[in-house]
């Protein structure tokens, strides 16, 4: 489709969250009827970019953005997603925003129902109009036809296969007469191969009808298959913007994960370990969105074992499952002794600790003091920081000891806070993360799981957190399993890096291995090369 008229153009978009730069001079145009493949690692800035495009509140609340968003050449300033919708931009979200109890039709025309006015309109306003269900159904059917998929307008969303939900979602967006630009965030993530095929056909059909599509996906072969142009974001910078003709999955992968400057490996020496400390076999974990299907690996005493992979592939499920936070099964051994699953207490008592990726949700008592946050687990698991009163009748909290402990960590990890009794909620992300680390260090575990240790904290803090881990590993010989979406930080401090895709480990590489190798493992291409290698040949 050789149309040249530019529909949307982003010019020098820059955005930072409190000094933490996430987008820098991002520019690209979207033309009528064009499909853009937008790819990048997690945290590369895709989401933020889309939020800016949709005028979401978070952007304004965090100090707005720099640069211009132009539609048909005029600059626009969206105050809310509704403005964006009125301007003709539609978005189908990763997590469906459909009403399960409603039918396909009702969802497609949600709040845009066709109505017949009644006498009561004059008394109580337009909302007293009666729904014109036949017409609604017609419109829905028309939209579905436009999409070229077969959806029954009358089935309840709750009873649909997930693929159809995705289609319904898209149908709702294009049902708006205005919609000219359609943003799809990971539309195929939840689809089966065949469903994905259908979707891609549908998108082609839409594009042909003149709608421009921004297609965000991790499945690179799909991107190549559907997109006219691929735009690669890395650390908030566009590193590549090129037509897809002749581009291979391998190329894109390497562009995506290309070396970043933010963190570099301390020393290149390769350590070797002998003794196994920890082994996992046939592990499955039922963690919503991060399902682990069949995990097998062993960790050697004293090493830092990295686990990487793209979001939703199950890497987060591993520590959460082993520590008993989500239903899990399989065989896990520490020091050769089997670890009882689904019982957090026993896992902790065996000498493992976990720094959760969900800092505010699981990691902290936001409303309590730092002392509590750091000492709590140790107190509960190892009866530390308690002192007897009434002649040993009761044992109560030893506030003094807790304070000393806290002061100690505040000093070691140089946590920025007014006092040990400050509430955790008042700390910055980086310092909160340090508190979480301190909590785990306080029980002196043999094996420490760290999950997304640097998520959502600024570069400087990242460095400090990684250094702390490095220090504890080197000085106290603490074995660490580090799970992270940021390949570079894994490569910077890990001794081995395993890559997870679709709930399984696709490969374990030394940190010094070539980037493309990681990229390919991440995008699960090892699987798809064998199955349909044609995609990227």
């Amino acid at each position: 489709m050789e149309t040249t008229d530019t529909l949307l153009s982003l010019q020098n978009i820059s955005k930072d969250f409190y000094g933490n730069v996430v987008l820098q001079d991002v520019c690209f145009d979207v033309r009528r009827g064009e499909i853009i493949g937008l790819v990048g690692e997690n945290g590369a800035g895709k989401t933020t970019l889309m939020r800016i495009l949709f005028g979401m509140n978070v952007i304004r609340e965090t100090g707005g953005y720099r640069g211009k968003v132009c539609i048909d050449g005029q600059e626009v300033h969206f105050q809310s997603p509704f403005d964006a919708l009125d301007a003709g931009i539609g978005m189908a979200h990763q997590e469906f925003s459909l009403i399960p109890g409603f039918t396909t039709t009702e969802n497609i025309v949600l709040n845009r129902e066709s109505m017949r006015p009644t006498v009561f309109n004059d008394v109580f306003g337009d909302r007293m109009s009666v729904l014109d269900r036949p017409l609604m159904k017609q419109r829905a059917a028309a939209t579905i036809a436009k999409l070229g998929v077969n959806l029954d307008p009358d089935t309840l969303v709750s009873e649909m296969p997930v693929g159809h939900k995705q289609f319904t979602e898209i149908a709702r967006e294009i049902n708006r007469e205005k919609t000219r630009i359609l943003v799809l965030d990971e539309p195929t993530a939840v689809l089966t191969e065949t469903e994905a095929e259908v979707l891609i056909q549908a998108l082609r059909k839409l594009a042909a009808s003149g709608i421009a599509i921004i297609f965000i996906s991790h499945r690179l072969h799909e991107v190549i298959e559907v997109a006219d142009r691929v735009v690669v974001l890395r650390d908030g910078v566009i590193v590549k913007d090129t037509p897809t003709e002749g581009v291979t999955v391998r190329d894109i992968a390497s562009w995506m994960v290309g070396r970043q400057v933010s963190v570099e490996r301390a020393e290149e020496e390769v350590r070797s370990f002998t003794e196994d400390i920890f082994s996992v076999s046939r592990l499955w974990v039922d963690m919503p969105g991060e399902t682990v299907k069949d995990m097998n690996f062993t960790v050697k005493k004293g090493e830092i074992f990295g686990i990487g992979g793209l979001a939703g592939q199950g890497k987060l499920g591993i520590p959460n499952g082993i520590m008993g936070l989500f239903p899990a099964g399989g065989e896990v051994r520490l020091h050769g002794k089997p670890v009882p699953l689904n019982q957090p207490r026993l896992a902790l008592e065996m000498g493992m600790a976990f720094v959760s990726e969900d800092r505010r949700g699981v990691g902290l008592l936001l409303e309590e003091s730092l002392e509590w946050n750091i000492a709590f687990t140790a107190m509960q698991i190892q009866d530390k920081y308690l002192r007897p009163v009434l002649g040993g009748l009761f044992k109560i909290r030893d506030e003094a000891a807790m304070r000393d402990l806290t002061l100690g960590y505040i000093d070691i990890l140089n946590i920025k806070c007014t006092s040990p009794s400050q509430k955790a909620v008042e700390l910055s992300g980086g310092n909160q993360q340090k508190i979480c680390l301190a909590k785990s260090f306080a029980i002196a575990p043999d094996l420490l799981f760290v999950s997304e240790p640097t998520r959502g904290i600024d570069i400087g803090a990242k460095r400090l957190v990684l250094d702390a881990l490095y220090k504890y590993n080197r000085e106290l010989g603490m074995t660490i399993v580090m799970v992270s979406s940021e390949l570079e930080e894994l490569r910077s401090i890990c001794d081995r890096v395993a890559i997870v895709d679709e709930g399984r480990i696709t490969g374990i590489l030394p940190p010094t291995a070539k980037l493309e190798a990681f990229g390919l493992l991440m995008t699960g291409e090892r699987v798809s090369q064998t199955s349909k290698g044609s995609a990227d040949a």
Binding site: N111, R112, N121, D122, V123, G125, D126, R127
Partner: protein, 168 residues
């Protein structure tokens, strides 16, 4: 949507409709009030105070087709009615039935209707009647127990003390 952007013509029409509705509402209250207001008509068969009009020896009266009442001279009885206009049918013995329209003023709870005056077509047959003293029934504080002492505070939803019946 949601009536955010509707053209002024519709707006004015709606304002109008709503205004009319408000008026109708008030009108309806007034109507129901006048139609439903209960009055007591005291039918009496006595000489008028100045003695100009003499009581009849005996008569039968019925208001709005209610149960006919016999009144001999000096008698007095009453009829409960609602609304303002009423039909009073009087049959003086062995004369034929005469029907009169009386109009009770809205404000009055009780009016005294002198039948002889009415028959003789005197103007002031219907006069307001102020009862001496309605014996007020004794207060029934009984059921009130639940909120008298803060030690047994009322909690709506609390059942009454044993013995007292419950609503349904």
């Amino acid at each position: 949507m949601n009536g955010a952007s509707i053209d002024p013509k519709v707006k004015t029409r709606r304002a109008l409709v709503r205004a009319v509705l408000a008026v109708v509402y008030l009108g309806l209250i007034a109507l129901v009030f006048s139609l439903g207001k209960g009055h007591t008509i005291i039918l009496d068969n006595k000489d008028s105070d100045d003695g100009s009009i003499k009581a009849l020896e005996s008569l039968t009266v019925s208001v709005d087709g209610q149960e006919p009442i016999d009144l001999s001279s000096g008698d007095r009885d009453m009829a409960k009615v609602h609304g303002q206009g009423h039909q009073v049918e009087i049959t003086v013995k062995d004369a034929q039935k005469v029907t009169h329209q009386v109009h009770v003023p809205l404000g009055e709870d009780m009016v005294l209707l002198s039948l002889p005056a009415l028959l003789s077509g005197a103007p002031s047959s219907l006069i307001p009647f102020v009862p001496k003293e309605i014996a007020a029934p004794a207060d029934d504080q009984g059921n009130n127990n639940s909120f008298t002492s803060p030690d047994a505070p009322a909690v709506p939803g609390a059942p009454p003390a044993p013995g007292a019946p419950v609503v349904p």
